[in-house]
Symmetry: C2
Subunit: 228 residues, 2 copies
């Protein structure tokens, strides 16, 4: 463990990417403050996983913010009237939650301002990004530019840095990096339709990408599937 690098807010969904991202932030010597969102997603299993991972990985604090994104509708992940697809389609998928990363990054920015944190870590990934517009490097650069103008720290010339250490990693590289840092992937939940225990369907886009990641990394897949 290196010396402290100041405070960092880490967005923690309970999935493998954000868990690895938290482990990286801790390894980089930050006092990490994990932030999860209860946005009426289909299952709460990932929130339980997030709380457990925050403790396991050594976060200084963890909080879950409630917000009613489900009331807005429009995504298979928050609107139960829209089915989760089991094979990839064309273009932006129905599992896209409108402006989700923008909303979550904005709330992370608010917490970073309150804590006077120097960094935000986001487990955004542009490789296996499933066609979401708000997972692209140019999007993150634009968010950073906006954040520099939005905040007290930005005005004072000490902008809050948005870090996305997984941005250009493949799923296999994320599996390897997380494994090196001791992330217990059996506790991470990626599945779009996990059950209450966090067990995975094995068929949705998120499961498919995750399973392939372990295979490509040559790491045994510790995921608990309910439908194999």
């Amino acid at each position: 463990m290196s010396q402290t690098q100041g405070k960092a807010v880490v967005m923690l969904s309970g999935g493998m990417d954000s868990a690895t991202c938290l482990a990286i932030a801790v390894a980089e010597g930050c006092e990490t403050h994990a932030l999860s969102f209860n946005y009426q997603q289909r299952h709460q299993a990932e929130l339980s996983a997030a709380a457990e991972l925050a403790t396991q990985l050594g976060a200084a604090s963890h909080q879950t913010l409630n917000l009613d994104l489900g009331d807005l509708g429009g995504s298979a992940l928050t609107d139960r009237r829209i089915a989760v697809p089991e094979s990839p389609g064309e273009g932006i998928p129905v599992t896209y939650v409108p402006a989700r990363n923008t909303v979550f990054l904005s709330l992370a920015l608010a917490l970073a301002e309150v804590l006077d944190a120097e960094r935000i870590y986001a487990g955004v990934n542009a490789i296996d990004y499933s066609g979401y517009p708000d997972c692209r490097p140019e999007y993150l650069a634009a968010f950073q530019a906006m954040a520099n103008l939005a905040t007290k720290r930005g005005v004072e010339g000490r902008p809050i840095e948005i870090r996305a250490p997984l941005l250009r990693l493949s799923k296999a590289e994320i599996v390897r990096r997380g494994s090196e840092l001791g992330v217990d992937f059996s506790r991470t939940v990626s599945c779009y339709q996990a059950d209450a225990a966090g067990h995975a369907c094995g068929r949705c886009d998120a499961c498919r990408l995750r399973r392939q990641g372990f295979a490509d990394a040559g790491v045994p897949d510790p995921t608990h599937y309910f439908a194999q």
Copy 2:
């Protein structure tokens, strides 16, 4: 009333600026969808005012999103342990809610995506802005650039336009414009510490700016004060 200009999301706090902004969006021929936020602000009177104003001014819909900004702390407007000041100080005031406009604009962006709306109207004002960094024109331009990359519509070359028609108006000009458009200012709540009925203290920064606006516009001030 002109022909419809498509759908618009209008951020509606219940204050005089956002009410005038809604009236402008309606006058510009938009099908307006008003969006308010229950973010654990000190008083709920402005939310009642928002609901009433949405109906009075002809919004097609109105919804209030709940989010726990108060849990983040850090502002006199959401943290009761921090007193609301009664005279302007130096720099960014304690009434600044960290990243508030960024969070609210992001949620408006999410709703705009769901509704396939063409515009977002925000009653942001750079003149009487009390030193908030996220009320400046350069901030809004940066948010627009980010939004263009964040959204499905942006990717498809039909970006959602952020409009801030009050940006460069003085409070007096806002009073005049709102009066012309039939805004009932007696129903708008600006005070940082309004009581349950929406009556104003007459002493905080927001009251001071509002009162001066009516005086400068030569329009009788219809505000109900509890402390005159």
